[in-house]
Amino acid sequence: MQENYLAKWLNNELTKEELEVFKNTDEYASYKKIADASSKLQAPNFDIDKALNDSIANRPTSKDVKVIRLNPFKKLLRIAAVVLVLVTGSYFYYNSLDETLKTDLAENKSLVLPDASTVFLNADSKLSYNKNNWDENRKISLNGEAYFKVAKGKKFTVETSEGLVTVLGTQFNVENRKGFFEVTCYEGLVSVTHKNKTIKLPGGNSFLVINNEIIATEAPNTSAPSWITNESTFKSIPMLYVIQEFERQYNITVDTKNIDTNILYTGTFTNKNIELALKSICLPNQIKFKLEKNKVLLYAENAP
């Protein structure tokens, strides 16, 4: 008899001979009875239609749950993306803004730049620069007067409304007031570009423009501008600009009466003592002064 002959028998796979042999065995009747009886058994009832309806009813809920779960996360992601853009955007915006230093009347300030260059800012002046790419581009915008001690490095440029001052590493003073532009080089070499003309200014030389007129001046014999040591020094400068400087240093208004403000003044006044400063200005020119609270009147000797 072949392997698993009971299975083969139930499946009608036995040969005629095998079937004959099997039928003659004692167990055949029992097997036959079990096989017949078991095929008459019944599994519990199962309602296919009800099960199918249940299955379809179960479907959408499971899909819905998935959609709901995803949504809040996506929304959150969108908000996060917007916040990220705003934060990075404002970060770069604020970084690209220029640094600004400003002095009021009767005020001096000094500033150390990122490369250790130093700037002294005289009264009523303003400068701005971008510290971000300072090493690549040493450029300062100036309105007013400042004295620079420039560290060695790449080209250093001072931009003013009157012209460009370019250096490689030196000490120089730039004054840019209304109708007045002066560059004084104390050490090294300064290149001044004024009205598309470039002038090389070696140490100990000045470049002065008053009312668009280039004026030859003598070399200063100091190593730094006098205002650094709280004095204002002039060499053949029209009285008008001397008075304006005085006004800046003492935050005061100056009125003049019967005075020619175009006369040239050579001299120094202190920025610390107003009486002394007025005397310094007035005595050599035979001018009298009357000091009031926030006002000074300068008048000629023979006037009241």
């Binding site: 698993n4 167990e27 079990i34 019944q42 199962f46």
Partner: protein, 169 residues
């Protein structure tokens, strides 16, 4: 249903698969564990999975797919209960047979039921799928994920064990 263009995601194809196979899956799990409620849940679970993965399962793989899921659902999780099967032979109830014969038949049925409950789960499942549901050995092999020869072996052993139990050998 074996056409390759058929898609299980199509309502009609899915419904046809459900009608053709859900009863078999129900019986299959019932023969294994003897618990109607669990068998019903297994059918639901398996066919929901089929719907969710309808794009990945071809119609002719669907039957093996749902039986595998139904089978895995309770794998090592629940204890088999006693399988209770009704005797469907109506002739017995309205027969003119002698009381002795009826009594004998009743006793035989009880012995058979007990012997079936005592069979190893895989032999009982295979045997009943063949005897009650008329499943071919090849079909059972597909559902159980074994060879036809293994199913034949189970059938042979099931029948042999049943006789020994009933006759008290």
């Amino acid at each position: 249903m074996d056409s390759k263009t058929d898609n299980v995601c199509e309502e009609q194809v899915y419904n046809a698969l459900f009608k053709a196979n859900s009863k078999t899956i129900f019986n299959y799990i019932y023969y294994k564990f003897g618990n109607e409620e669990k068998a019903y849940d297994a059918v639901q679970e398996a066919f929901i999975k089929l719907w969710e993965n309808c794009a990945k399962v071809t119609p002719h793989k669907a039957k093996a797919y749902v039986s595998t899921i139904a089978n895995n659902l309770y794998l090592n999780v629940i204890k088999a209960e006693k399988v209770r099967l009704k005797y469907a032979d109506k002739s017995l109830a309205i027969s003119n047979e002698s009381p002795e014969y009826i009594l004998e038949e009743k006793q035989f049925h009880e012995k058979l039921e007990k012997a079936l409950a005592d069979l190893p789960e895989n032999q009982r499942t295979t045997f009943l799928l063949n005897r009650i549901d008329g499943k071919k050995y090849a079909e059972i092999a597909e559902m159980e994920n074994v060879s036809v020869k293994a199913i034949e072996k189970r059938m042979h052993l099931a029948l042999k064990t049943l006789r020994e139990k009933i006759e008290g050998i």
